[in-house]
Amino acid sequence: MVVDHYSLDACALFALLRGEAGHEVIASALQGSGCSTHVINLFEVYVWFLKNSDEAQADAALQAIDLLNVAVETDLDVDLIKDAARLRSGFQMSVPDAIGLAYCARRGCAFLTSDGELAALKDSGAIPIHFFRPPNRRVRRADQIRQALQSARERTARLEFELRSAEGPE
């Protein structure tokens, strides 16, 4: 499938702002066919700055993104939400990613990301997803988190069993 436009995930926006590995791919897309981002992905960037920095820096980041000719798409309607919900119910992803991907499906553009969690969706071919760099490290980290969660669940179940035993009739 030939893609003439890219929509940037929040992590792609961070990679671009930071100039980290793979940002050349994004820069090349910016100088070529052009890039946009859905406003919900911009929301993720703004939230990060508000949590970790201050409002002035958050505004500067948004202005910098604008200066880099990244167009902001504000489409958000019931049909888009339905498409996003279908994606999220079928694949592991965050709400902003689901909306960003649903927007890509509507617009016929590719989602530019490094999120390895989206590899399954990429393989399904439902929506064109391009990785601006190999997402291997990210996937390993996700596996670590899953394992930690599984251990926590098992420990919780064990403690609940012990609690029920302790509270039960003597």
Binding site: A27, S53, D59, A60, A61, R141
Partner: protein
């Protein structure tokens, strides 16, 4: 609007220029007019205007006026010059970009860049990445944080 390119020259070690400036600024600056190619070398006084060595936001307008008087450049043109200098090797570009924003914020510099439509996209990218490199998280760290939040949400 005239367009000037600022070039930063490193003086020879122990040169008179370096001594005169008390080694505060090892760089000399020349401005080249993009239209007719005329070149003007700045003196230390210009350099203080071009590369504010810190200070508070309240001095910004003073510095802007001084820079405009001494070099005939507006603040946005000065920022353009900073962008041009990012064409030089990254480790030098980083130093150069950092100099004019000592005491200023990334927000001010970004607003300044916004005022100059002549700055090409690749120079904007280089300048913005130099500004934000130490501020934003790596995309991997961001994704890890996001995935943790999602995992807890699913719990």
């Amino acid at each position: 609007m005239q367009r000037w390119t600022l070039t930063f020259h490193r003086p020879r070690q122990g040169s008179k220029a370096m001594t005169r400036m008390g080694q505060r600024s090892p760089l000399r600056v020349s401005a080249t007019n993009a239209k007719d190619g005329s070149e003007v070398y700045t003196n230390a006084h210009h350099e203080r205007a071009l590369l504010p060595s810190g200070g508070a936001m309240r001095h910004l307008s003073e510095k802007r006026d001084l820079a405009a008087r001494t070099s005939g450049q507006s603040l946005s043109e000065l920022a353009s010059g900073v962008c041009e200098t990012t064409m030089i090797p990254p480790h030098q570009a980083q130093q150069v970009v950092e100099r004019p924003i000592q005491g200023l914020t990334a927000a001010v510099v970004v607003r300044t860049l916004a005022g100059n439509p002549l700055i090409p996209l690749d120079a904007r990218i280089k300048t913005i990445t130099a500004l934000f490199h130490d501020i934003v998280p790596s995309s991997d760290d961001f994704l890890d944080q996001k995935r943790c939040e999602l995992a807890f949400e699913n719990e």
